[in-house]
Amino acid sequence: MIKETMLKYLGYGNQEISEEMDHMIDSCIQEVKEVSQPGVVCRKFALAENPLRIEETGDEIIGEQMKELLENCEECLLIGCTLGIALERKLKYYSRIDMTRATVMDAAASAYLEAFCNEYEEKLGYPNRTYRACPGYGDFPLEFNRKIAKILDIHKRLAITMTSDYLLIPQKSMLGLIGIGTKKRKKQCGDCVMKEDCCFRKRGQRCYETESEKNC
């Protein structure tokens, strides 16, 4: 699955791949797995309405999509996850000496992060949960990253730091919110700002895992 996802990120569309390239792709996945030091923190909070917010902290959850997603959810999980600084260093290393490998590794790392989060989520034991909504996607403002960061104390627990523009370092890190109590797993392009210009859509793909991909 990691390979499929990363190929998608790389814009793969059934081109012929040489044996060497295929080997390189596999070795990138292998190296990502070896170098990564995955870390995760997750905490459950109650949700309150009007405005929609995290009850314990009072942080308001902005965005129509979020409102829709969290309808009928009384609780939510905040989750923070990273593949660690050693991988970041490795990606940087390759971007200095071998841009092909840097690009393929970057895609492999993104795919691995996604897979790692999915697997972790599965184990939490909440069958009735929404998909993982990450600030910056759809109309869920990127600024919410700061709130999650603070609540989960991600700097101390995962050594993730956040820039003043709410970007995460290491780059292969993720902050998200999952609603508990409803089973809205289906993502849609809906209000995505990139809807008209999305390179995935142009290729007939989605940036997220679709139902048909899940079943195959």
Partner: protein
Amino acid sequence: MLRDRIGKELLIFDGAMGTQLQQAGLAAGAIPEELNIDRPDLLQSIHRRYLDAGADFITTNTFGCNRLKMSEAKYEAKDMLKAAVTNAKEARRQAGREEDAYIVLDIGPIGQLLEPMGTLTFDEAYDIILEQVETVKDEVDAVLFETMSDLYEVKAGVLAVKEHTELPVFVTMTFEQNKRTLSGNDPVTFVNVAEGLGVDVLGVNCSLGPEELKPIIDEILDTAVIPVMLQPNAGLPCLEHGETHYHVTPEEYVEAMKDYMARGAAIAGGCCGTTPEFIRQLSLAAPKYVSERNVVKKTRVSSQTKTVTFGDRVIVCGERLNPTGKKKMKKALLEERYDELIVEAVKQDEAGADVLDVNVGLPGIDEPETMKQVIRLLQEVITLPLQIDSSSPEAIEKACRYYNGKPLINSVNGKDKVMDAVFPIVKKYGGVVIGLTLDEGIPLKAEERFEIAKKIIKKAETYGIGKEDIIIDCLTLTASAQQKEVKETLRAIEMVKELGVHTVLGVSNVSFGLPNRPLLNRTFLVLAMQSGLDLPIINPLDRELMAAIDAFHVLFYKDVDSQRYIEKQSQVEIKAVVPSAEFSLKDIIIHGLRDEVENSVREELKKAEPLDLINNVIIPALNIVGRDYETGKIFLPQLIQSAETTKKAFEVVKESFSSTGGEEKGPVIMATVEGDIHDIGKNIVKVVLESYGYGVIDLGKDVKIEQVVEAYHKYQPKAIGLSALMTTTVVSMEKTIARLREDGCTCPIWVGGAVLTEDIAKDIGADYYTEDAMASVTLLEKIIS
């Protein structure tokens, strides 16, 4: 005096503050430091309970009290700092412990990652910490940096304290179960760097319980010469119902800590989950005095994540990062194109070097500044410790200040003036210094060089630099000029070793002016190793030379069971699957066979003129690649691979151009705008543009507006390309464009990035938008004629 007690009497630190505040109702995400002003009674009572339980130190509630982390707090960081100290002092007064208990300014991580992985500069980190220290330095007894995970930040902090106060400095880092901090520092590297910086006490805190920390604590107790402090958690944190719990009882905690105290830990306390009861029992169980530890001082140099220890085997120092006699590197340094150096560093690393010498000394160059830049870039890519090679004390000082780790410093000699200039730097920043056995000239006799070595060691001692931080260079003489004296060097090594120091030699000098230099180098190296050479400075790409060291390790029982030797020497040469003869240069480019391209171009150049080769083979091949990408016949990695192959082809072709031919196209400037750290897209575009022969000045990521404007004036580019990944950073792209225009920039600006579109590009004032790397090429081919 506190300093008189540390390391002699066993002293007790307090336990957790956060856990106590949470118990008192502090909500998740709330700012604990605000309570210093809002709830002085609560803070005082917590301190008081720890003091009454037997703590000799109380730490102020100021873990995150820096201006960055406190930007959202309702009070000023400075006011919360002052209030915290006042609370601690008041508690100490109430407890009647003003004479024998100490208040420690608590400083946790800044919360922003330092360069090169992050965006915070070393100087900014220094300033932020200094502000904290300056605010309360007259009111506290010591400063504690705790829960640190980045040794570089520790360095900034320790320097800030030591350059402005006389206060004792304590440092504890937090290690994970893999025995590394979250930034990748290991215990031995931590000890080596922290001791070099002259901290008073070092140790571990947080993350794990006393049992789980055992392998890490063992390593620290075995290597640290200075007093060690321990503040583990009350076991591993367990998440239950959204709350963190710790399950180790005070009894279990104390039982584990007793062992460490018996083995020489000097200060014991607690971190998350520990309470006054833990401290009370700990205090009762603690012996009055610190048990002695017999730690052998060793010579060690470190990068941020790797430490090389001398004595067990020969340590190889790579000599190739030095412009002397290297035209290409001279040019690269003068043009500030440091990629060249990085590639050279990576090659030496892969060839098995342990340490890399870095020399950037060239006439007309700002050596201190260049040294700083180069070291920063090297440390971004390479994890080997570096050897700072300069005759300029200013360059050495700057390099030592910004170096991440404990460097080798090359060098001092027997002249007092040189030692007086360099030894203070070695002492202040912590380094291992090379001492050349010369003063007014190189003495011919071994005995004379031995005397100079003694003089250097003695003088270093007056600066507080121990023998373990000195490596003596007995100096290689050239066999073609001073044949008779060559063996004096070998004799001198044997004599100097008797002084209890390690030795270094630049080996290849010996063969200068004679044929088959590698043979002489190799033979001399073997003789020198037998005499006791520890650190040969050589070309690690010379495989035979490296193999001689492997053989020496076997024969001198330094490679037990010949493991390394077998591993390396039994490696079969891996040949390319397809011999290059089967592929034409055109195919090599189309298939992106980077390893084949150099030979192929050289072969072709025997038959064709360079310019014809470019126009008739390389460019058409590249055009096919471009077309295949656009039509979806190949995908991104294949495009990049071909681009990198072409770039290499160009490099080889250029070598054969006369000085007038083969001009680059452009130049163009590229930058990922301020605030954005995602630069992979820009890097891909850069490689592809370079493959089309464009000179790209890459300003990097998170590039300040001023830097772009400055570069525009400096390089007068044909176009400027800006990238941004996030909608939030497109704003800063707009500002960059606006400033460029204000400054009279008329050259075309093109933009790209995940969230950009044609429309947005227009809105923010860019001239062009390109969707991907190939589109950028097409655009530039069109607009730059």
